[in-house]
């Protein structure tokens, strides 16, 4: 009947398209006007935008930016603006599933959790406690990371626990530790508003952190310098664009330091009082003359001179970076070079003056601080006896129970599976079957496992499909806790709607596992809500650099987030090293791990697009975003396209030594250099990580996603 009325034109869906007046946000679609707005923080990236999630009859129907939030002042990116659609998207994981005779079958939660504990304990009994590995994420709330860390390290007693944060920000972590003695980004978004030079290296914020533009926009006097081998949206907006060759950032920074010293634009007082290692640095930089650097980077010497003058003359210079720096076999060292440049010019700890890692995931910071992976909670060091003792005292456990060194990082866990050391794996909130480099190797590893648990908000995903046990988790909007953003701002995340089906919060799952494992009373006595974990975490972090003691839930609700450590770190020039001085690093620039060859003549760069988040588990299910960016593409320079006789939109095959993409559409564009191609990594259908090389930073263990050699073939 309804379809007849529609066909005749009597039914024009007027109800759906009615407008109404929302007291908070004014005139808008009636269907989007909620019964109430729930204040929360965006669950995608780590810009950490404040927002309101509109709830109508138990469903999330709309999202609006929080005009009073200092991070985003009411605006949101396209992912944030459509984030409520993710909650009610198709393909949510609804029930625990166990693989029986090759097929995933529904089973009750009790049995699922019993199975998890039984199987992992059995594996640990047979092969040792280190035979269990955990790959988690940067997208749980800090309360969950803190809980999971204790559960894994003190409950299961394995240290082979890492997150996908190693695929993302671990180079920044290692770099901060080596330069400043501790992790922790020193600057703040406000620096973008007041710096006279904003220098972005390998950071395409227009695509990946567009809301930072809100801050940059206010800075009327800034000079924006962007270094990127690809003329990204961000590079396009730059006042000075440095089209350097890939993997040559260190040469560029060394060259800039060389020129800054030569120009007398360094800060000798700051260097003397707050740093060590300047002599070695200066000696090392001697050879990084503009001519030498020009040869490596491909940048003309006058452009290097100009950039060095701009940077050197700046009263406050902000140097921001993202994955272009981190995703490298020299990621950590590049971070050290950036920090060193900032230190010798006195650009640390002042308004507008800071080296600054623009983080990836919404709560990568939270897991770095509280998560018990790359360091002990509260930026404590595994190798520091006093730190272990302090933690043992705080937790009321024997100091012997606190591990003395870090377990394996993500790629080493994968390697450990292949070697047969790790037999059981628990994957939480991440989708390695799109995101891990060299997919073929990963497939081999996963096939060797005796037991794979995947805990996720969605099913099926490429990773849940191969799991032995799938645990359905509540996602953003369905749980409470805190996120910490790039500028160390802790913000509250709130539950707006109930999780679908039988999905439980990760927090609840961890506590249930702890009860079955028999460590609940010891580690989590009387914990029922995330606030119980948070209050213990506040106590554990008290007095540390990342001190949460004063940051209570109540204050967070009122203050629209609070930055631990204040607006900026190291304002007094005292660092977290033993002597309180920052370390200057003399770094050599090495070649990329896989260079183009006659068989594979192109350098493949991978990255993101504004419409999608990571492996599209969420954004691929949101129509308005999918419509804008429905499939992967390969960018190729017009000169190369001509040589290969490729037409715009033509489908091609892309191959590397490791794997292939069977079909991807050509985008002929002058934003990539001749000899380079670019593919976004979001798409399982044309998975860029079939091609990427499994080479890792020896310090941070971060993969070298940004360069590998490929060939393009016509289909």
């Amino acid at each position: 009947m309804k379809s007849i009325l529609k066909f005749l034109g009597l039914d024009t869906a007027q109800e759906k398209y009615r407008y109404g007046y929302d007291p908070q946000y004014g005139y808008m679609s009636q269907a989007k006007i909620p019964d109430h707005w729930v204040p929360t923080t965006c669950g995608y990236c780590s810009v950490g935008c404040g927002m309101f999630l509109g709830v109508k009859e138990g469903r999330a129907v709309s999202v609006r930016g929080d005009p009073d939030h200092p991070v985003n002042e009411g605006v949101l990116c396209p992912k944030g603006l459509s984030e409520h659609h993710a909650i009610h998207a198709e393909g949510r994981a609804l029930y625990p599933l166990l693989k029986v005779k090759g097929k995933l079958r529904r089973l009750p939660w009790d049995q699922a959790l019993d199975t998890l504990v039984d199987r992992f304990v059995r594996i640990q009994r047979n092969y040792g406690s280190q035979a269990m590995g955990i790959l988690s994420t940067g997208q749980l709330v800090t309360e969950e990371f803190y809980t999971l860390g204790k559960l894994i390290q003190l409950g299961f007693k394995t240290t082979h626990y890492d997150g996908n944060t190693t695929l993302c920000m671990s180079s920044a972590v290692s770099g901060y530790k080596r330069s400043f003695g501790s992790d922790g980004p020193p600057g703040a978004y406000q620096d973008l508003e007041v710096a006279d030079v904003v220098f972005l290296i390998g950071a395409n914020i227009a695509d990946n952190h567009p809301i930072l533009w809100e801050h940059l926009k206010k800075n009327k006097n800034r000079t924006l310098i962007v270094a990127d081998p690809r003329l990204s949206k961000t590079a396009m907006m730059a006042d000075v664009y440095l089209p350097l060759q890939p993997h040559t950032d260190i040469a560029l920074i060394n060259g800039l330091m060389h020129l800054t010293i030569r120009n007398g634009r360094i800060d000798p007082d700051y260097i003397r009082e707050h740093t060590t290692g300047f002599q070695e640095l200066a000696a090392h930089l001697k050879k990084y003359t503009p001519e030498f650097v020009a040869k490596i980077t491909g940048l003309p010497t006058d452009l290097l001179e100009k950039t060095a003058l701009l940077y050197g003359n700046a009263k406050a210079a902000f140097t921001g970076w993202t994955m272009g720096v981190n995703h490298s076999t020299q990621g950590t060292e590049t971070v050290n070079a950036i920090n060193t440049l900032s230190l010798i010019t006195g650009n640390v700890g002042r308004p507008g003056a800071s080296p600054f890692s623009i983080t990836g995931q919404c709560n990568a910071m939270g897991t770095r601080e509280a998560g018990f992976t790359s360091s002990l909670p509260g930026y404590r060091k595994f190798e520091e006896a006093s730190h272990r003792e302090e933690l043992a005292r705080l937790w009321g456990v024997s100091v012997k129970e606190i591990p003395q060194k870090r377990g394996w990082a993500y790629p080493d866990i994968v390697e450990g599976i292949i070697k047969g050391v790790i037999k059981g794996l628990w994957v939480i909130g991440t989708n390695p079957f799109v995101s891990y480099p060299n997919q073929e190797l990963l497939h081999d590893a996963i096939s060797r496992l005796e037991f794979l648990v995947v805990q996720d908000g969605f099913h099926p995903t490429p990773t849940t499909e191969v799991a032995d046990l799938v645990l359905p988790a509540a996602i953003w909007g369905e749980k409470e806790g805190t996120f910490t953003n790039s500028e160390r701002r802790v913000s509250k995340v709130n539950r707006a709607v109930a999780a679908p089906g039988e999905a439980k919060t990760d927090f609840k799952i961890f506590l249930e596992v702890a009860k079955r494992l028999g460590c609940y009373e010891k580690l989590f006595a009387n914990w029922h809500t995330p606030k119980d974990a948070y209050d213990e975490w506040r106590l554990v972090s008290r007095g540390r650099l990342c001190d949460y003691w004063d940051i209570t839930y109540e204050k967070l609700e009122h203050e629209r987030g609070m930055q631990w450590g204040g607006a900026r770190l190291y304002t007094d020039g005292v660092f977290q090293t033993e002597d309180g001085k920052a370390k200057l690093w003399a770094i050599e620039c090495h070649e990329m791990p896989e260079k183009p060859s006659p068989g594979f003549p192109f350098i493949l760069n991978t990255g993101r697009t504004v419409e999608h988040w990571h492996t599209r588990t969420k954004t691929g299910r949101i129509e308005v975003l999918e419509k804008m960016s429905p499939e992967a593409w390969v960018e190729i320079n017009p000169a190369d396209a001509k040589k290969l006789k490729l037409a715009q939109h033509e489908a091609v095959r892309v191959l590397s030594q490791r794997g292939r993409i069977n079909k991807v559409h050509v985008r002929i564009t002058g934003i990539v250099q001749p000899g380079h191609v670019f593919i976004p990594f979001h798409y399982i259908e044309a998975c860029a990580n079939n091609l990427t090389v499994a080479e890792f930073d020896p310090i941070s263990r971060e993969p070298n996603y940004k360069q590998c050699a490929v060939r393009i073939e016509k289909i």
């Binding site: 808008m28 009073d68 809100e214 003329l231 419509k627 002058g670």
Partner: protein
């Protein structure tokens, strides 16, 4: 000029009031846009539109060589024009220029979903919503503006690229050069009010990202049948009138004594002219056949509408809209043709000249209908349609298929003896003239669009010669076969006694009708409309 900064949410200040002769409009700064598409998603959320209904869209243009490449983003919604062609073309008077804000708005529920505004607008601002079977579009968030809130897109922009400002309409009409920008259709078509700020020193070779993405337009099957069959019907009626005139002339040759002839007809003393009796029958049956074609066409056309029940509303704007006029003339044509057909069947005693007058009226309304049809398509936003070849093609279709259909009826009912061959020959003559005119217009069109630089015409050429190459060649081939075959067959068969003539003519009618339907299909799918720049996908 600009009112207030961009302050979203609750903190927006009151709207700066308009003075007389002013309206609100968008300002878009290409130099500030970072292509994040927040505006697009915010618009969807504001209006609850599905992903395919894009009131606002962000497009891309690019040019230059690395590292001096320029890529610019163009976010565009409705431009709230001073001479909006959506409004002037609308057959139902759905659009109006809001007296308070100057927004081009739509009267709720008045739209019948004909989609004509979507053809008229060079910016794709009106969008057909399949969930509603009607067209909807950006109204500048009129109701937010009057409440003192910014439009959703403006409030959502993190780089301050979209703003609301006011403009003096008179002054803008004089000089609207700032509404022009690279990749954007020229503002003169509709006097777009959106002010574009374009970065200085742009390369000349900026291409739109959608330049090479050829997405054929919808075929509009109901319109293919509607236009071809109405044209056939009109051509058929005209052929009948011609046949009648000729038969009349044959029976009353000039110079013969009229009295004697009338006696012949009435009394039967003399042999009736050979073939004349079946001709009478044919002249009675023919109109019904043509009326049938028209009826089928007009019935089909109603289903082109999103809301067929409200088809009658399309008559409303006959003073302004060619679409209304088309509906009006074809309705009159169908009505008059019905009366004509019935009167012809009943052979009533009528005052002299009645049938003749009626015939003239049928012919005139029919021709006016075809002309109105053609004028519908002659809109600046659709370059490959907007020229004299459209009416030539439409009339040619009518004068090719109409006479051919009549020839078939004629041949089926009468032995095409020498006596009445004059009629047959005349019809074949018309068929050939119309057919070759059609063929000529196709080839002229092809050469014209191939030689042009405009993005849209180049696109049409590419569609016809690449994507639709086979149908395009079939279209030309089938037409050519018909035009060569008909005279040859007739001459050959007639000489051999004329057996099987109707079968052959029927086959050629079938072939010609197929060719014209295919041609009309290509007409619809190969038009590349002017639109705002789009993205790579």
């Amino acid at each position: 000029m600009e009112f207030g900064g961009r302050e979203p949410g609750l903190n927006e200040g009151p709207l700066i009031p308009l003075e007389s002769g002013e309206q609100y409009r968008f300002h878009f700064d290409m130099g500030k846009c970072i292509g994040c598409k927040c505006c697009e998603v915010a618009c969807h959320e504001q209006n609850n539109n599905p992903a395919d209904v894009q009131w606002r869209q962000v497009g891309e243009i690019e040019g230059g060589e690395f590292p001096k490449t320029t890529r610019l983003y163009v976010s565009m919604a409705c431009n709230h024009c001073l001479e909006p062609t959506c409004l002037t073309g609308c057959p139902t008077d759905t659009y109006y220029k809001d007296p308070i804000t100057g927004a081009v708005r739509m009267r709720a529920d008045s739209c019948i979903g004909c989609g004509y505004c979507t053809w008229n607008c060079p910016y794709e601002a009106p969008q057909f919503n399949p969930e509603r079977n009607m067209v909807t579009k950006c109204d500048l968030c009129h109701n937010r503006l009057v409440e003192g809130h910014l439009p959703a897109c403006v409030a959502a922009c993190p780089s301050g690229a979209i703003e609301i400002e006011k403009v003096n309409q008179g002054a803008w009409k004089q000089d609207h050069s700032q509404a022009n920008g690279p990749g954007v259709p020229e503002s003169s078509i509709t006097v777009s009010t959106t002010r574009l700020t374009v970065p200085p020193h742009l390369q000349a070779d900026l291409d739109r990202a959608d330049e090479y993405r050829l997405r054929p337009e919808k075929p509009h099957y109901s319109l293919i049948f509607m236009t071809v069959l109405t044209q056939l019907s009109v051509g058929g009626f005209l052929s009948l009138f011609l046949a009648e005139l000729l038969s009349h002339w044959m029976q009353h040759p000039p110079g013969a004594d009229p009295r004697q002839l009338s006696m012949t007809m009435a009394g039967g003393g003399l042999e009736p002219l050979a073939g004349a009796a079946p001709l009478q029958k044919f002249l009675q049956v023919g109109p019904f056949a043509m009326l049938g074609a028209a009826g089928l066409a007009l019935t089909t056309s109603v289903f082109h509408l999103g809301r067929p029940l409200f088809a009658w509303r399309a008559l409303k704007m006959w003073k302004r809209s060619w679409l209304s006029r088309e509906v009006l003339f074809f309705s009159l044509f169908a009505g008059l043709a019905s009366v004509y057909s019935i009167l012809r069947w009943r052979s009533l005693a009528l005052p002299p000249g009645t049938m003749e007058t009626l015939g003239v009226l049928v012919a005139m309304t029919g021709l006016a209908g075809i002309y109105s049809s053609a004028r519908i398509y002659m809109v600046p936003a659709r370059p490959s349609w907007n020229n004299i070849r459209t009416p030539i093609a439409f009339f040619s279709t009518g004068f090719l298929l109409g006479p051919l259909a009549i020839l078939l009826l004629f041949a089926a009912q009468s032995n095409l003896s020498q006596a009445v061959m004059l009629i047959g020959k005349t019809l074949v003559g018309i068929i050939l003239i119309a057919g070759f005119a059609q063929l000529g217009s196709i080839l002229v069109k092809l050469f014209y669009i191939i030689s042009r630089e405009e993005h849209e015409l180049r696109g049409t050429a590419k569609l016809l010669t690449q994507k639709f190459r086979t149908p395009f060649l079939s279209r030309i081939g089938s037409l050519l076969i018909t035009l060569i075959g008909i005279p040859l067959t007739l001459v050959g068969l007639l000489q051999s006694g004329g057996i099987g003539v109707p079968i052959w003519i029927g086959m050629f009618l079938f072939l010609a009708l197929g060719s014209e339907l295919l041609g009309r299909y290509l007409f619809f799918v190969s038009v590349v409309p002017k639109n705002r720049p789009e993205g790579y996908f």
